[in-house]
C-alpha cells in the first residue's frame, strides 16, 4: 500500500516523536531513578525484587547528608571556588578575547593556538608542575589555589568562546560610542558587553559546570578535609566496595546537580541565544 504525501508526513512525524520520546526516557530515566532512590529507606533499596517507587517516601537521606559535619564545608568550598573560577575566567577571558577580536598584532594567531594547546594535554600531565608551583606559592589547601588551577584549563575555552561572540558585534557600534566621547574601556563596558551578554552568560554557565564538577585537581591540591570540595566529598562517600549507602549517595547526586540546574534555569534564555549566536556568526 502506498502512503499519500500527508500520510508519509504523519508517519515521519510519528517516528520522529517516537525516537525523541525514547531518547528522552533513555536520558532521564537514570536521573529519575536516582531521585526516587534518594527518597527510599535503605531497606527498600536492596531487595530481591526490583522496586522502582519508594514504599515509604522519606527525606531522611537528605537530612542525614545535611547533618554530616563536612557537608556544609564541602558545599561551601565548591560554591566559593566555582564563583572565583567563573569570575577569573570572565574577567581575564573577556579582556583577552576582546584583544584577540579587535586588535591585529604580531603573534596573535600563535597565541590563539597556544591557548588551545594547553587543552590538548591530559590534565594529569599538568599535576606535578602545578603542584610544585602551588607548594612554592603556599597555595596548597587554599580556595584561591584551586580557583587558579581550574582557571588554567578553563580560561582557554572561555577566551575562545568569548572571542566568537565579540567577533559577531560590529566594530562600528564601538566607533560610534567613541565619537560620542566614550573611552575604549567605556565602549567595552557600555556597548560591547551588553551586546555580548548572552555569550558571556553561556561562557559563565559552561565554566561553572566544569569548575563545580572538577575532581582531580581538587583531590590532588588538598591535603586536609577542611579544604576539599563537594565532588571529592561525594567520591569519598561513594567509597570503594563495602556497604554502599545508596540512598545517601543518590541524595548527594541530586544535591550536586541542583546548583547547576538552578544556574542553568536562570541563564537559560541567554545561554541558548548565546550558543546559537556563537554558532552562526563566530
Amino acid at each position: 500500500m502506498q502512503l499519500s504525501f500527508r500520510g508519509t508526513q504523519r508517519l515521519y512525524r510519528f517516528l520522529t516523536a517516537a525516537v525523541l520520546v525514547f531518547a528522552g526516557i533513555f536520558a532521564l530515566f537514570p536521573l529519575v531513578w536516582t531521585g526516587l532512590t534518594s527518597l527510599k529507606q535503605n531497606t527498600d533499596v536492596i531487595t530481591a525484587e526490583m522496586q522502582y517507587l519508594p514504599h515509604n517516601p522519606t527525606l531522611e537521606n537528605y537530612f542525614e547528608l545535611w547533618s554530616r559535619k563536612s557537608f556544609v564545608t564541602l558545599f561551601g568550598n565548591s560554591v566559593v571556588i566555582t564563583f572565583m573560577t567563573v569570575s577569573l575566567c570572565l574577567l581575564v577571558g573577556t579582556l583577552a578575547a576582546y584583544a584577540f577580536s579587535r586588535y591585529r598584532f604580531t603573534g596573535r594567531n600563535a597565541a590563539l593556538v597556544g591557548f588551545l594547546l594547553i587543552r590538548m594535554f591530559p590534565m594529569v600531565l599538568m599535576l606535578i608542575p602545578l603542584f610544585i608551583i602551588m607548594r612554592n606559592l603556599q597555595l596548597l589547601n587554599t580556595r584561591v589555589g584551586l580557583a587558579l588551577a581550574y582557571t588554567t584549563f578553563l580560561l582557554p575555552i572561555a577566551t575562545w568562546m568569548l572571542k566568537g561572540f565579540f567577533d559577531a558585534i560590529p566594530p562600528d557600534l564601538e566607533d560610534a560610542a567613541r565619537i560620542d566621547g566614550a573611552t575604549r574601556a567605556g565602549a567595552i563596558v557600555r556597548v560591547v558587553l551588553p551586546l555580548a551578554a548572552p555569550g558571556v552568560a553561556a561562557t559563565a554557565v559552561l565554566t561553572a559546570i566544569a569548575a563545580w564538577n572538577e575532581f582531580l585537581f581538587a583531590l590532588m591540591f588538598t591535603t586536609n578535609e577542611a579544604s576539599q570540595t563537594w565532588p571529592v566529598g561525594l567520591h569519598l562517600l561513594v567509597g570503594e566496595e563495602f556497604n554502599l549507602p545508596w540512598g545517601l549517595l543518590s541524595a548527594g547526586g541530586m544535591i550536586s546537580i541542583a546548583p547547576i540546574i538552578v544556574f542553568f534555569v536562570l541563564a537559560q534564555k541567554s545561554l541558548v541565544r548565546g550558543l546559537m549566536q556563537g554558532a552562526v556568526k563566530g
Binding site: 572565583m84 569570575s87 610544585i132 607548594r135 587554599t142 573611552t183 570503594e240
Partner: protein, 424 residues
C-alpha cells in the same frame, strides 16, 4: 555620562582581584608550627563503618599519646598512587601512609617510603607478627611497612539453609560442587554459589588454578603454569555454571556489589570473599543464625585462599616528627588496637598474639580466618600481574562462562599472555 578611563578600569580590576583573594585566604588551612608533633596520615578507610572504626583507633591513640596529634586524610584507592607520586615529587608527601603490598615496590622506587628495619627490630615486632606477613613490605631485605591488618579469604554461607538441608559447609572442592548443586533451586531464583565473573573475578581464577596444583610463576619469576592442572582447575570452576547451573545466570557480569546483595537478599547460598566484608554482613543479616563463615574449600593441592596484609609506612616526616610517626604506625600492630579494629570493622589482625585473645577465640565467626591466616600467604604477584589478570585472565574466563571457548582454549591464551606479561 561619566567617563570610564583605562586607569579606573585597571584600578577596579586590581581591587576586585584583591577582594577575591582576601575573601578566599581565610579558608586556607595551614599547619602552624607546634611544640607537639603533628603526624599526617593518609589512609583509605572510606566505608562508613570502617571510618568509624578508624576514629576509635585515633581516639585511643590520642589517649595513650596525648602529645601527638594525628592529621588524617582519606584518599580514594583509585587515585592514591597519583596523589602520592605527585606529593613525593613535590616534596610534600605525608609523614605516614597506609600502603598496599602491590604498591610498595613503586612507592619505595620513587623514594616515598623509609627503611624502618632498625625500628622494627628494636621494637621486637618480628616476633609478634608472622614472618610471611612482612614479605609484602620487604625489598632487598629492608622493611618498609608494618602489617596493620589482614584481608583473609574465607567463605560466607547461609547457615539457616544448610541446617534446613542437613548439610555441613563443604571443606573440599568436590563437596563444594555437591553443596552448590544441592542448594540450587533455579525456578525459585536461588543458586548455590555467588561466583564473581565480573570485575575482580580474575583473582579467584588464579587462586583456583594454584589450588589445583599449577603455579603461576616460579621462584625466578618466570612463567610456570601447568597446562593440565590449570585446565582442571578452570574446568571445575566454570562447570559450576556451564554444567551444573549452580550460579546465577548473570555470573559474567557479577562483581562485588551484585554478589553481596544477591547473598544478602537470599539469592545465593555461598559466597567467597574475605574478612573485610564481615561488618557489612553483620549489619545486613544480623550477628548469628542467618549466615556464618567457613574456610574456603581445599583444592587438590591447597586451599583456594590467600591472606593479604595492609601496611603502614613512614614516608617523609618533618623535623621532629619521625619518632612520633613511628609511634603511630607501631600502635597499629598492638594486640588491643588490632582486636578493637577487628570488632568494629572485621579487618583481621596481623599479629599472631591475637590468637590467644579471648575476644577472638570466643567468636566462632573468626574461626575460619584464624585457621586460614597462618596457612596461606599473599596472592601471587609479579610485575605485570595486574594487567595480565585484568586483560587476559578475566575476559577469557568470561568467554568460558559464556560458552564461547573451552577451558583448554582459555588456559592456552592465559599462558601465552603470561609469557608476554613476564617478558615485559
Amino acid at each position: 555620562m561619566s567617563k570610564l578611563t583605562r586607569r579606573d578600569f585597571l584600578k577596579g580590576s586590581a581591587a576586585a582581584t584583591a577582594a577575591l583573594a582576601g575573601n578566599a585566604l581565610p579558608g586556607a588551612a595551614r599547619l602552624l608550627a607546634q611544640d607537639n608533633p603533628t603526624v599526617d596520615y593518609w589512609h583509605g578507610f572510606i566505608a562508613e563503618f570502617v571510618h568509624a572504626g578508624f576514629e576509635v583507633v585515633l581516639e585511643q591513640f590520642h589517649q595513650a599519646n596525648p602529645d601527638i596529634t594525628i592529621n588524617p586524610l582519606t584518599v580514594p584507592n583509585s587515585e592514591f598512587m597519583t596523589k602520592f607520586t605527585t606529593s613525593v615529587v613535590g616534596n610534600a608527601a605525608p609523614d605516614t601512609t597506609m600502603a598496599a603490598p602491590t604498591r610498595i615496590p613503586d612507592m619505595v622506587a620513587i623514594g616515598g617510603l623509609q627503611d624502618i628495619s632498625g625500628r622494627v627490630s628494636e621494637a621486637g615486632l618480628m616476633d609478634a607478627i608472622p614472618a610471611a606477613h612482612w614479605d609484602g613490605a620487604t625489598i632487598d631485605g629492608a622493611i618498609y611497612g608494618v602489617p596493620s591488618f589482614m584481608f583473609v579469604d574465607w567463605m560466607y554461607y547461609r547457615a539457616d539453609w544448610f541446617e534446613e538441608a542437613g548439610l555441613d559447609p563443604p571443606t573440599t572442592w568436590e563437596a563444594f560442587t555437591e553443596a552448590a548443586i544441592a542448594m540450587t533451586d533455579a525456578e525459585n531464583g536461588r543458586y548455590g554459589f555467588g561466583m564473581r565473573g565480573g570485575n575482580g573475578g580474575q583473582g579467584f581464577v588464579t587462586k583456583v588454578i594454584e589450588a589445583f596444583g599449577s603455579p603461576i610463576i616460579d621462584d625466578m619469576g618466570q612463567p610456570a603454569m601447568d597446562f593440565d592442572k590449570a585446565v582442571a582447575g578452570l574446568r571445575w570452576y566454570t562447570d559450576l555454571h556451564t554444567v551444573h547451573g549452580a550460579v546465577p545466570p548473570s555470573v559474567a557480569n557479577d562483581s562485588f556489589r551484585q554478589l553481596m546483595e544477591a547473598f544478602q537478599t537470599g539469592q545465593t547460598a555461598m559466597l567467597w570473599h574475605h574478612t573485610g566484608s564481615l561488618a557489612e554482613m553483620r549489619t545486613v543479616l544480623g550477628e548469628e543464625g542467618t549466615f556464618s563463615t567457613a574456610l574456603r574449600p581445599q583444592g587438590p593441592e591447597r586451599q583456594i585462599a590467600s591472606a593479604t596484609p595492609s601496611y603502614n609506612g613512614i614516608s617523609m616526616p618533618g623535623d621532629g616528627e619521625a619518632d612520633a610517626s613511628w609511634e603511630w604506625i607501631k600502635y597499629w600492630s598492638e594486640v588491643d588496637t588490632q582486636v578493637n579494629f577487628l570488632e568494629l570493622t572485621g579487618y583481621f589482625p596481623s599479629s599472631a598474639l591475637v590468637a590467644e585473645d579471648e575476644r577472638v577465640q570466643g567468636n566462632p565467626l573468626y574461626a575460619a580466618a584464624l585457621a586460614t591466616v597462618n596457612e596461606v600467604g599473599p596472592p601471587t604477584r609479579f610485575p605485570g600481574s595486574p594487567g595480565w589478570e585484568r586483560n587476559v585472565v578475566l575476559p577469557n574466563f568470561q568467554r568460558v562462562l559464556l560458552g564461547e571457548i573451552t577451558p583448554e582454549d582459555a588456559v592456552e591464551i592465559m599462558m601465552e599472555g603470561l609469557e608476554e606479561a613476564v617478558s615485559g
